[in-house]
Point group: C2
Chain length 357, copies 2
């Protein structure tokens, strides 16, 4: 495949806000978008030329979708392995990022092993497939620690803290029945993330490292740039370069790090997709992470990831979105709303980027 011509159709798995913002970025570049989602009336489908509403294991629907598009991408890492297999093996689709990258990012254990295999530090961890495993892991790692499901956790879901051995039973009961991982705590100074695009020609276009502030496991604010030593930015880019290279990655990805008091970076997790901590790039960079992702998967040249001004991104979670009128009146803010029909606690409804000039 060479550079995908405008007018081509880009397929996106998933109909949420990331798919919506990808769809609009693709349309700006002259592409049509086909959204595949089980959800009717999804945020993404309302700005896309075509939508297929079907389950992720619907072979006929997936094959028809794959045949209708030039390239398939995804807004979420938890694409079932069978979905990717159907797209690739039954319908010969081009998928970016590749299914191997998705598979690694879907499983916290594989992800940490992958990081370590790239020479990237993580917190200590151990697989937990039984109550006895948990005891052994706690001896190895010590408390406090955190027990997590290996798969399908996001926004702090599927996690239980173990402050001391006395919490082990409750934590195990809460999560047992699925593959688990015990992760050690680390006394980090800050959480930072690097969002980068990688082209099929192995170019890496990293945005500035940003600082992320979470509450209840959900991203609340991103400060761009993170106020860190230039060597920390360089190190983060070097680590991202190794990750991208090892995965043969094409598209945008994010790595979340713990920044230690001595400046060391501990990889927490990676997202093989555009990332909430990259939303500020829509308003403070010449090309947003959404445009960069479309460029990368369409095999277009990547845009510059340079930052035009400092920015702060604030998520609008649940009924915080009701502040839209006041936010729309802020002179240096850009409001982005996702078109979700229903406000629910913890649901990401929009975000606002405050620009600092």
């Amino acid at each position: 495949m060479s550079a995908l011509a405008p007018g081509s159709v880009i397929g996106i798995l998933g109909g949420g806000q990331l798919g919506r913002m990808l769809a609009m970025a693709a349309a700006e570049l002259g592409f049509d978008v086909h959204i595949y989602t089980p959800e009717t009336d999804s945020p993404a489908s309302r700005v896309a030329a075509h939508t297929t509403v079907a389950e992720y294991d619907d072979e006929a629907a997936l094959a028809a979708f794959a045949r209708s598009v030039a390239v398939v991408t995804t807004e979420f890492e938890n694409v079932p392995a069978t979905t990717a297999e159907i797209l690739v093996f039954n319908a010969d689709a081009v998928i970016h990022p590749n299914p191997e990258a998705l598979a690694i990012a879907q499983d916290r254990l594989e992800e940490k092993r992958f990081f370590n295999g790239c020479g990237i530090a993580t917190v200590p961890f151990a697989p937990v497939d039984s109550r006895a495993d948990l005891d052994a892991a706690l001896v190895q790692i010590g408390a406090p620690a955190i027990l997590k499901t290996r798969r399908l956790g996001y926004d702090g879901k599927g996690q239980a803290r173990i402050a001391s051995l006395a919490d082990a039973d409750a934590a195990y009961s809460a999560l047992a029945g699925q593959p688990l991982i015990l992760e050690g705590f680390c006394r980090f100074e800050r959480e930072v993330s690097l969002v980068a695009a990688r082209s099929v020609h192995s170019e890496l276009a990293p945005y500035d490292l940003v600082e992320n502030i979470h509450a209840d496991g959900i991203l609340v604010r991103t400060l761009a740039p993170a106020l860190v030593d230039a060597r920390v930015q360089q190190e983060a880019v070097a680590l991202a370069s190794r990750v991208g290279g090892a995965l043969g990655y094409a598209g945008v990805f994010a790595i979340e790090f713990f920044l230690m008091p001595d400046g060391a970076l501990i990889a927490n997790e990676m997202a093989p997709r555009v990332h909430n901590s990259g939303h500020w790039t829509q308003d403070a960079c010449i090309a947003s992470q959404f445009e960069q992702h479309i460029r990368a998967i369409a095999e277009w040249p990547l845009a510059s990831p340079g930052r035009l001004c400092d920015a702060e991104m604030i998520n609008l979670i649940g009924d915080q979105v009701n502040a839209w009128a006041a936010l729309a009146a802020e002179p240096n803010s850009k409001l982005h709303l996702y078109g979700k029909n229903e406000i629910r606690p913890g649901r990401k409804m929009g975000h606002v980027t405050r620009l600092k000039r």
Copy 2:
């Protein structure tokens, strides 16, 4: 009506690139969009939640459209008067801009009389409804002059130059059979335009005056800002304020001026809509003209029209769009393609904004 809540549906008459960019701006603010266009598979409908494909005189379709939306706007001034009447009288729709503004902008004669009524200078002009009228008008105005259709002219169509009296017969023959206007030439220094938003509360948010370069009657380039004396910018804003006030206008509008060697502004025409010479605002202002128009018609506070950096906008006309790959590789350029299926000579296929920092 107070500020329209996110999730409301905004109706847009017209499915071209202006409707497309309006639709994406509306979606960013959380609105759904309903496009009304006679064109199947239009550029705008491919980024909109809903589309009605029907003619502009289809009473039933217009009434159903009007009932499905909270407010109606338009991407083009040549909305038939009957369309507006059906929307307002049959379906009680809220239309911004109001039908009176559309009616004035549809007719070059009414438009110039309106400008003069606001104390705004125009070239000399006279109505031409017969061959004898043309002779009389040429005596009054002199040659060279330009004979134009009063209605439905755009991008240089519906015009004939009269260099001397010997051209009068040919010019009249070319255009006769519809109401005409003879306009005097003026030896202007440059063509400039002012794009401004006006709120329902009479606030005016003018962007910087820009310089426009046309070829064959089609806009080729816009330079933002126009390099003019600050007094010229102030005068243009003062004239726009009079126009907006006289029309009771809500939304974005543009006035094209001839800038004379002595700094005087001669109004050429107005567009009661977002305008090609305002496309640079997408990339060089905190809020584009498209977002401003949506804010204005939704009765949201207007955003700041301040310019963040200088910019040059180049239209991609006809097969110029085939340069997309080279344009996508320019480091400080933003490429915008309209998703039009077919390249035709003179057709606006996209634009590129070069940012100057």
